[in-house]
Symmetry: C2
Subunit: 570 residues, 2 copies
Amino acid sequence: MAGANGSAAAEAAAHRVGAPTNPMATALLTDQYQFSMAYAYWKAGKHADRAVKNPFGGEFTVFAGLEECIKFIANFKFTEDDILFLQSVMPMCEDAFFDYLRKTDCSDVEVYSIPEGSVVFPKVPLMRVEGPVAVVQLLETPFVNLINYASLVTTNAARHRHVAGKSKVLLEFGLRRAQGPDGAISASKYCFMGGFDATSNVLAGNLFGIPLRGTHSHAYVSSYMSLDEIPDKSLKSKDGSRVCKNFVSLVKEWLQKIQLADSLCGVFGETNQSELAAFASYALAFPTNFLALVDTYDVMRSGIPNFCAVALALHDLGYKASGIRLDSGDLAYLSIEARKVFRTLEKEFNVPAFGKMIITASNDLNEETIDALNKQGHEVDSFGIGTYLVTCYSQAALGCVFKLVEINSRPRIKLSEDVAKVSIPCKKRCFRLYGKEGYPLVDIMMRESEPSPKAGERILCRHPFLESKRAYVVPQHVEELLQCYWPGTSNKPRVELPSLEEIRGRCMQQLEKLRPDHIRRLNPTPYKVSVSAKLYEFIHSLWLNEAPVIDSETKAAKHRYNIRTPCFME
Amino acid sequence: MAGANGSAAAEAAAHRVGAPTNPMATALLTDQYQFSMAYAYWKAGKHADRAVKNPFGGEFTVFAGLEECIKFIANFKFTEDDILFLQSVMPMCEDAFFDYLRKTDCSDVEVYSIPEGSVVFPKVPLMRVEGPVAVVQLLETPFVNLINYASLVTTNAARHRHVAGKSKVLLEFGLRRAQGPDGAISASKYCFMGGFDATSNVLAGNLFGIPLRGTHSHAYVSSYMSLDEIPDKSLKSKDGSRVCKNFVSLVKEWLQKIQLADSLCGVFGETNQSELAAFASYALAFPTNFLALVDTYDVMRSGIPNFCAVALALHDLGYKASGIRLDSGDLAYLSIEARKVFRTLEKEFNVPAFGKMIITASNDLNEETIDALNKQGHEVDSFGIGTYLVTCYSQAALGCVFKLVEINSRPRIKLSEDVAKVSIPCKKRCFRLYGKEGYPLVDIMMRESEPSPKAGERILCRHPFLESKRAYVVPQHVEELLQCYWPGTSNKPRVELPSLEEIRGRCMQQLEKLRPDHIRRLNPTPYKVSVSAKLYEFIHSLWLNEAPVIDSETKAAKHRYNIRTPCFME
């Protein structure tokens, strides 16, 4: 059972695969029925049969979660406590089965995968797992768990990036709305992968090196009553050359100047003094990073003038305020109004770049609201997105599943009454074919024994199920999709796990390379996924052999017929 | 800073509060802006001000997550590595601030909470946290994270239990669709709390003692080709008195008998032999727990007759098969047809209780589909529910928030342009008043200084915002809602954390005690939440004082007015 290089753990060490990010990702993290089946396979002597399984993506998806899967198998081992627990819940199983589990690791498993951060399409396998059937069965649940949410939220993040555009700053603020601590940590990691710039989650920043962002909340503003609450009012200038003894007085002077400014025609009256105190106090703590939440009381009547007074006072001392955050109200209107004030003050008081200060918006944003803001016109530079991003409101789960496609070199096909559950059988190689303009044209799946497609050579791409749909393609460039990330006992060269930054880069690059009509929000053109002529013939001969004869038109039989005319690709 | 009994850790040990379930629940699990604010408070010397904060539930909710919050504060401490990381991301902060963080724990924090598993209603605080403002600020994000999803999924589970009815078995199958490992573990824990009977998640079974369930998948069935693949065909009878040398032959005999049975009029023809092999092999491994997934090929033509043949063969040897699982197709129709066959065979072959075998259904079920099945009529005994349960499709996030309600004994109210964000200020006591029939009538919030309501004594309950809505209530029984779970340096008696089973019991009991019209699926009657006359006066005097004078009808000003006529309670 042990791999050529010794145990899986030794293998992991040799390849510097660390522990899974989540300490919960242990060998017990699987469905009970996987152990039931492992026992039944073991009992029948089938546990060492070699099985080949594929998880599939359901729609246009960014594939994520691979690194965690590889770390999972690298660390896959039952502790003695695990064994004792399993014995207690499965008392009917023979002792020798538990001895088998004690010795089980993933030395003998091989994992082939599309690189993490790739754009993937329905029916193309994301990953192929080969190994003893009992072990592969135990990996099914944790792999699907580690891939499903990861891919879903990365895809969601990429969609947000696409609608916001390249120039905007995207901040992930989902910690308090995710499924517990680790749901949140996954969200932060994979939103960054999908194109976000930073997170509010400090632990995720620590674990993955993701940039952190965050200033203050409404509660911070509410906690102040008056300017008297600031004990030390002195602030050193940025260059250290002088000390302003009473920064609060300076702020008050600026507030008066703003209120009297001709160019603003006296639009600002009394502002909230506790808010002013909170801003002044915050600026004293963070003179180099002053970004204020301006909607605790009233954005235009209090928040903006208070902020500007503090920002201009900071400017006197050589600092440059960062900007504001809006967390309620009409974000399009408020951002435009705020920008007007900033620009007016830039001119009025000759403060360079004051008009360009960052306006961050953060109130229950999602793809649709950002799209709506774009259509209305707005002056937001940076979006803070939480709930809709991390819970993936528009589609709260991804349908990735594991399919048994081959056992002991015999292809297997699962025929279900539900057509969406039918898989493409056998071990396959998958290629992405690129056209002249550099766009990917089509993905093609082939039998393992077939020669690879070559650049400049014509190849027939067939729809997997519809006989009439076929086309010849001459690719300019060919990319093999499935690569070896865990060679097990095979001597195949292994792809090293890239860094999170590299994966993020791949994701951004892949999305840019796609023909824009494939990723547009409205009525995107479906990307074509095809099979080779040989694989087409093979699938259809297998279907004819496997399908039991249906001899009547009963209700159940009708369900059964569906699988003969699937049309879920286009 | 240290508590009367020494450090928080010592306190935790004394009360046997263990580590949080999730190893990720460390002091760094918070939003960056909490540290920014902690620094700003510290810088302004306000960090030790005593703040009082409340998270609120947004709708009818089962409150969950308390135990994890208490464990979190019991273990709240920054490691030297945490400090180094924080210094690296906040280089602008003074060193003395990090010294302050090094010494920070939750000895000086007090937590009052509604017991976990309680049914709660909008506007009543679930929890009150009192302590130094900088520390309470750091707790906001993790508490909201630990409570939001926990309460959401517990509520969702309770709703599923309500629609399924008491007699059905509910199984949580969400591991592969949750937000990563810990999302899944939380889902398993809180679904059990909300009334589920078991989970498929082995690790959750191990961590929380939740019963485990699971048999086999479609892949297991697909992995077999023929009956020849079963090497050891012998099976000992249940009482150990004899050995059946060829169980497979016995199964085949039974299959023939079923096919020829008069009472079935030959409805069964050829069945799928690989499925038969998989069932026979599984029965040999689990003769005492034989439950088969019958829809891999064709439920009525293959799965049911194959299952019955194996079940009847087991019966010959003194075993009792458990039943079947349906994972596709028309679950109402198939369960009724399967039940008919079981009952017919019970009579035909005189096999007691064969008609009562368990029928489990598990295909993308949710509250609505179970309700639809109930209306159609079905024979399902047990529901396996995954995606819709754990992702909470119908509402993927709960709006629990933390509100600053008091600082240094001064009440604080947050006035937002968004009316839903307005809170009820000041430290409050909350009571549930019960009527003659034992149903809760109304929750009432009171000022801390007021005397508690008493059974048999008339008390005025007012709508918090509408002057005309008020009623006198004479409670038969009064329950104080907020109890002390973490006394900090106070000498208040502390409520011990109950076991998961006890919390589940409370949840079931509370739901049963509610007037049925409050929890019915369609147009439920809103439960009344009220304030005392004194609290009403206090809130409204505070509003008058806090609201800035609005002197024009600009757009922003209109937003601002909204808060004067909130009507979100009914």
